[in-house]
Symmetry: C2
Subunit: 498 residues, 2 copies
């Protein structure tokens, strides 16, 4: 690697590294020229998490970010970070390092990426502030690969501080807008790393469970005709109303995968002006649609079991991540029953009324009532997860199958985690005539949904399904309070960047 003390044109060099005239270590540090794939050096970079006592006395190369640096006389202590791991490094005046080199190291801006060559040394006293507690790195060479600007828009240590410490001890924390405006940096914190690793685990467990159950993964279009007009020349695409019928559309798309069932993975765009802690204009939907034999509860049981398998998998495989997030956002472990509790809407109404809530039989649950119900269910059944079945027909979309026993009820359900809805689903009407009747009842223009209704004219099995909101599951499993924490780059009516 060509490493040069001269900085690249325009890249600002840390100050005070000028008088290098009589510097015996001058080849051992500096700012590297930009890596442009000039060459393929025969150099192995060791990962920070692999720096353990087994490597004691080895000379290794490591690439990492400067997490903190602290100069102290003739020494400089750095904490080097790589993802969720970090290690202490020491640059000390001696055979390898000159006074100028120590100064250089001490002046590297935090978050810069550096290559260091060093000897792994076992330490006598555990280094409590690092994940690699038993070793430190005695630096022999140090080169800046990518220099960070000197002023960070937020400090990583502030960004992982529990709010209560901020409030009670007056220490700095970072507010949500600052985080989101600087998400590229906020994503580097141990909390963010844990959140998104766990989220990736949810995706994996979802697919693993459904594949084992015999589902087939499919891809459906996000661009759906709404107005019936073709979009003029596709110059501007638009998506208004894609959510309206999309869940129902999916099955019509794929009905011959019946029996074997299907699962979907899609991005849902909402054209709603919802500014709440749990609404985004774009979210990831984990969707399940399934033909059943005689009763939609066959589907409810499959979906609920899929969620239970996800919860179990997370608790088994992601304890480290859960604990990392809990350090900043303390929370009770997530509780669930097997089999999953299924309550009917009228039972829920009775519980709420007993608690003093006044609600009509055909009224939908407000957010506060959802949360209250969650607390009542937790008290009575000791579970954070349950299914609420048989919603009033009046509050569900036109394609929802009415309940044959009670015309004011429907074969539809929501699922809740810690008192918040994470899935909405139903038996979908598979009969073109009933579907037409219900669409007319809802005042829907039949022309706009012609393709949808027609798709049931050539034999369609009874089917049901639902869509799981990925970001909400992550949020509620971890006991977080805003869905923006679990969306990598959240989009809401007020946020379109970064």
């Amino acid at each position: 690697m060509p490493s040069v003390n001269a900085s690249r044109k325009g890249q600002e060099k840390p100050r005070e590294i000028v008088d290098a005239a009589e510097d015996y270590a001058k080849e051992r540090y500096g700012i590297s020229s930009m890596i442009q794939s000039q060459e393929k050096p025969d150099r192995v970079l060791v990962r920070v998490k692999d720096l353990t006592v087994e490597k004691a006395d080895d000379v290794v190369w490591v690439r990492a970010r400067v997490h903190t640096s602290r100069a102290k006389g003739k020494q400089c202590f750095l904490v080097l970070r790589q993802q969720q791991f970090n290690v202490q490094a020491l640059v000390a005046v001696g055979d390898h390092a000159s006074k100028q080199m120590v100064k250089f190291a001490a002046n590297i801006n935090k978050e810069s990426i550096i290559d260091v060559e060093g000897i792994v040394r076992k330490v006598n006293q555990k280094i409590g502030s690092c994940t690699q507690q038993d070793v430190e790195l005695h630096v022999q060479k140090i080169y800046v690969i990518s220099l960070a600007e000197p002023r960070l828009p937020l400090q990583l240590d502030d960004a992982v501080r529990p709010e209560v410490e901020g409030e009670e001890e007056g220490r700095a924390t970072v507010n949500q807008d600052t985080r989101l405006d600087n998400r590229v940096i906020d994503l580097r914190t141990s909390t963010s790393q844990a959140v998104f690793r766990l989220q990736s685990g949810i995706c994996h467990l979802f697919r693993e469970t459904l594949t084992n159950k015999g589902f087939v993964e499919i891809q459906t279009p996000k661009i759906i005709s709404d107005s019936g007009d073709l979009v003029p020349s596709y110059d501007d695409l638009w998506y208004k109303g894609t959510t309206k019928y999309s869940s129902a559309f999916k099955f019509s798309f794929t009905q011959d995968l019946k029996y074997c069932i299907i699962f979907l993975w899609l991005t849902v765009f909402r054209a709603e002006d919802s500014n709440t802690h749990r609404h985004l204009t774009e979210f990831v939907g984990l969707d399940i649609e399934m033909a059943f034999n005689y009763h939609y509860h066959e589907v409810v049981e499959e979906i609920a079991d899929t969620l239970v398998q996800i919860f179990k998998g997370l608790q088994e495989r992601f304890q480290t991540e859960i604990q990392t997030v809990n350090k900043q956002f303390p929370c009770e472990p997530f509780k669930f029953l097997e089999p999953t509790l299924r309550l009917e809407y009228c039972e829920a109404l009775a519980m709420l009324r007993e608690a003093g809530v006044e609600m009509g039989d055909e009224e939908d649950l407000s957010t506060p009532n959802e949360k209250l119900l969650g607390r009542l269910v937790k008290e009575k059944y000791d579970t954070d997860f349950y299914v609420l079945d048989k919603y009033p027909l009046a509050v569900r979309p036109f394609y929802t199958m009415p309940d044959p026993r009670n015309p004011k009820h429907s074969n539809s359900y929501d699922m809740f985690m810690r008192g918040e809805e994470i899935l909405s689903g139903a038996q979908r009407i598979h009969d073109p005539q009933l579907l037409t009747e219900r669409a007319l009842h809802h005042g829907i223009d039949l022309e706009k949904i012609k393709a949808y209704i027609d798709s049931f004219r050539f034999g369609a099995p009874p089917h049901a399904g639902g869509g799981i909101g990925l970001e909400r599951v992550t949020m509620l499993f971890l006991g977080l309070h805003n869905v923006r924490q679990t969306s990598m780059f959240p989009r809401d009516p007020k946020r379109l960047t970064p």
Copy 2:
């Protein structure tokens, strides 16, 4: 199950089933009332693929579609289909079936879904036209669950007929627009079932391979600010230009997953008026972005190996599907080398020039030249898959890293299957200053890409990546000729439905 001879209001009953007065079998057939989850009968439905000689003489219930029916005196032969499996069923006048019942069975419209109770009987002569060749079903009860309309917009047997038979023998085939207009039915053919099962396999193998390599799956937003203006109230969302910088954006989004690398899964919308066999306005991108140590070839090797693992996995696990598709669309098996062949652009130019093509050094490959090159490479190296490296800088996006050895070249590459591009990728510029220079050179408004450039100001590792077009990989692996065959509901400038 309540099964009634009286048809549901408005649902047309097969004709000539009127004089049921003295019908001793009248309880044994009919049109069921719509399945609305009225009850949970204790009935096991056996899958068609499980109807084998082991079940001989068992009485079973089966739900399937009527694929064909053929009446013959006092008998009616049905072929019952379930996904890619089918079985012969016989309704014959006797103890269980009356004359009227046979007539009823013979008049059920094709594609209707029915429940039958029958005895599994071993047959003496194999039934060549069915997947279940050793048994047939002797029907005792037959009920229509969902009645198809009498006139199908296309015949499934025509839809799987090889074009050559259509041309040489004058037999009916189905043209692409008819297929796509009636995709819900077209997806029921054995060819479509095989195509989309294999495609689901590609997705699975892609993730399996990358998870084993230590990648983390992430979700990035599809809604990206282009003009810098916030979209007015999100009432109509628009996405113009999302593809322009999206591949580069992805990395900036997630740079602290460096070393461990990332993979993405996204829907890409193109705002292009491309009416070709290989362009869609919406496709599924399997994207890989990865920080590397010193040379972007580290990334090229990872991506190429991922594709090789997919090819191997498909050939190992999906032979049935490949052969099913080959029956209709014959094609040579897909060939590839290990390690993958990597050619430089100037070598390709030399090969093309030797074959008589006139091309400038900085000219991009036209589609015909891409295909010709594919044939030349196949002849010379015997591979259907290769990497073309070091594209002219002039034909690549602004964020492409220039080649340090030659200012007219770039650190960028495409990957090809059977002479067609399936991936485009590059080392991305990670230095904000060089990125600014290159954007200005391309006449790009810096204001619009401010968030992108700024994301590199706080330390960014060198990185490279690329996006794989899922539908193209499926098409070219199977040797198909139009990407609309491998998109479940394709979207192009002229098609927005179904």
